[in-house]
Symmetry: C2
């Protein structure tokens, strides 16, 4: 008998739901044939899709009429969404009926509900949205991508430890290096909390490979394997990078379309360029974990298609299989954090 | 008799100085034939360069042996640099001997010295490093790019007004739109100071075209003509964009070089692509103003070559000719800023 991997899926979240969710669930079986699904959502629309994508034997439906709108405020979603597909999927994880849950729905609502339902791991102060992005030679792990606008030094230090565990588990890195995002590499730069986090990380006595401060350009240069920052800066950096890529791509594309010879040239160069750009395909990186919660909750992009959603399920299954939360707890135990006061006294 | 434009140049600042400075000064005459230069630096090395670049008739040298190192801390530079080429050039502006000064030297030292020597404009709380960057349809003005790590709502509101004046003067925009960088467009997102600045900007009774919050991806989409943020976030966003462009470019280049057909294709498409990418050439955007100081001080990139430096001089001359500082004062007068307390009271 194979060990099965039960996943709770918010069938109603995301622009392309529920088809992208059900189809994505089908595609994810390629990576993990032992996946089992419960779809939370409207039975009438979901059931035919399950049948169409030949998931009848491994899927069940938990019917609900309530779903969270993409524009709904987190507070409203919490009030109104007690029986929503999103919340029910999270509760399945909390009750141990599912090993993880995945949703492409409203990010703010998902974060708020996940925190409420799952709570943080023992000792963890705040969860952090953690994403994997393509960088020069190998992927880079970024956190926090938007869960916490203001971060204390202690939050940042915990993000570093959680990010290290994530890089080991998801990317199979042996001794990932950690950078703290700042506006310069010198010790004197940055906010007070950032400087304090820097001192605390340097003072960690365990095996953490803390590199020091890194700058915006280091993120995609691959200077470190993990880049730690507050949710405000992380969100801006991520979206700036997306915007830059799109502008670059659109500019080149437009130029090629305007010139006859360039068009011919592009036909010849196309497959090589496409192959190279494949590593930037955002679908391959879909699935950001709310790291630090007492249960595995994966946020898929709101615009995710089936392929994209399949990757988010893959991230979820990897987390389950590799026991991410046990690893985080063990990282915290192996790298006892000095208190901010102690770090300040040392550096004083 | 032509009106002449006297500029003070730090001949010793930057990786390629002094040659890039003197050669750049020559190239800048193409834009402003009425430029006159005083070079601050070592006479023995600068004099032959002036002669070689045929600037003898319009240039003089103010000799000094002292220059600021690229790695020197601002505090050390202030202590040690009283007779440095950088400081003497700034003092020439303060005394009215030059209309503007340009340096490719140490950014931190230049900011600290410029603030000390020139002081801020009446009513301006903090200067902001202001840069122009390429965006989808037309350039975007970004501030603050690193002068102020922590910003109050009042600083941000002043940056918006200064940025508007800058977009009008430097880019000739008639009614530039202003965005405030945040992690979402809803009023409830972001830091407290950011929300307060948002309320204050909406409350401005003058002609300011305040768009509201924008996100990281909006910067290069050209959603607004000016993007206002604190110096920490601005610096990270700018460097992240640089890193992303470099990664994108390197990936495509590498792919083309690996494939024979792609190489042939690239030969055909090359001129169209190069033409399109020309608009991203950082040399065309070199020259960031320390906006809000009582005198025009332009920071050129540390690695600036002659062409790049010429553009920084062009920015300086434009600022002089268009009376940027008068325009800023008039923007402030036309758009009386409500106090943070008043804005908070209004918003309840």
């Amino acid at each position: 008998m194979t060990f099965s991997l039960p996943i709770a899926l918010d069938a109603m979240g995301g622009d392309k739901a529920p088809d992208s969710v059900v189809h994505g669930a089908r595609l994810a079986l390629k990576y993990f044939p032992n996946l089992r699904y419960t779809f939370y959502g409207n039975k009438e629309v979901v059931a035919p899709l399950i049948h169409r994508h030949k998931l009848d034997e491994i899927a069940s439906i938990h019917h609900t009429d309530v779903s969270i709108g993409a524009q709904e405020k987190p507070s409203a979603a919490l009030r109104r969404g007690k029986y929503s597909s999103m919340r029910l999927a999270l509760e399945a994880v909390e009750r141990g009926e599912a090993s993880a849950c995945v949703s492409s729905g409203n990010t703010g609502a998902f974060m708020a509900m996940a925190k409420l339902v799952l709570k943080t791991l023992p000792g963890i102060l705040r969860p952090a949205i953690t994403a994997t992005m393509p960088a020069r030679t190998r992927p880079v792990v970024l956190l926090d991508m938007g869960a916490n606008i203001d971060c204390t030094a202690e939050y940042l230090v915990q993000f570093a430890l959680m990010g290290e565990a994530y890089a080991k588990v998801v990317l199979g890195m042996e001794n990932p290096t950690i950078g703290l995002l700042n506006v310069g590499e010198e010790d004197i730069k940055g906010h007070e909390e950032l400087k304090l986090a820097h001192q605390m990380l340097r003072g960690i006595t365990g095996s953490l490979a803390y590199h020091g401060f890194v700058e915006g350009n280091d993120i995609f240069e691959g200077t470190t394997d993990v880049v730690v920052t507050d949710g405000f800066t992380g969100n801006v950096a991520l979206k700036t990078a997306e915007g830059t890529s799109r502008l670059f791509y659109a500019t080149v594309k437009q130029a090629i379309e305007k010139s006859f010879w360039a068009k011919i040239g592009y036909l010849l160069a196309r497959s090589a360029i496409k192959m190279a750009l494949r590593k930037f395909d955002p679908r391959k990186y879909n699935g950001a974990m709310l790291l630090g919660l007492n249960g595995i909750a994966i946020k898929s992009h709101g615009g995710a298609d089936a392929k994209s959603f399949a990757n988010a399920i893959r991230v979820a299954a990897t987390m389950v299989q590799e026991n991410i939360n046990q690893r985080i707890i063990s990282e915290l135990n192996q790298n006892p954090m000095s208190s901010p006061a102690a770090a300040a006294a040392v550096s004083g």
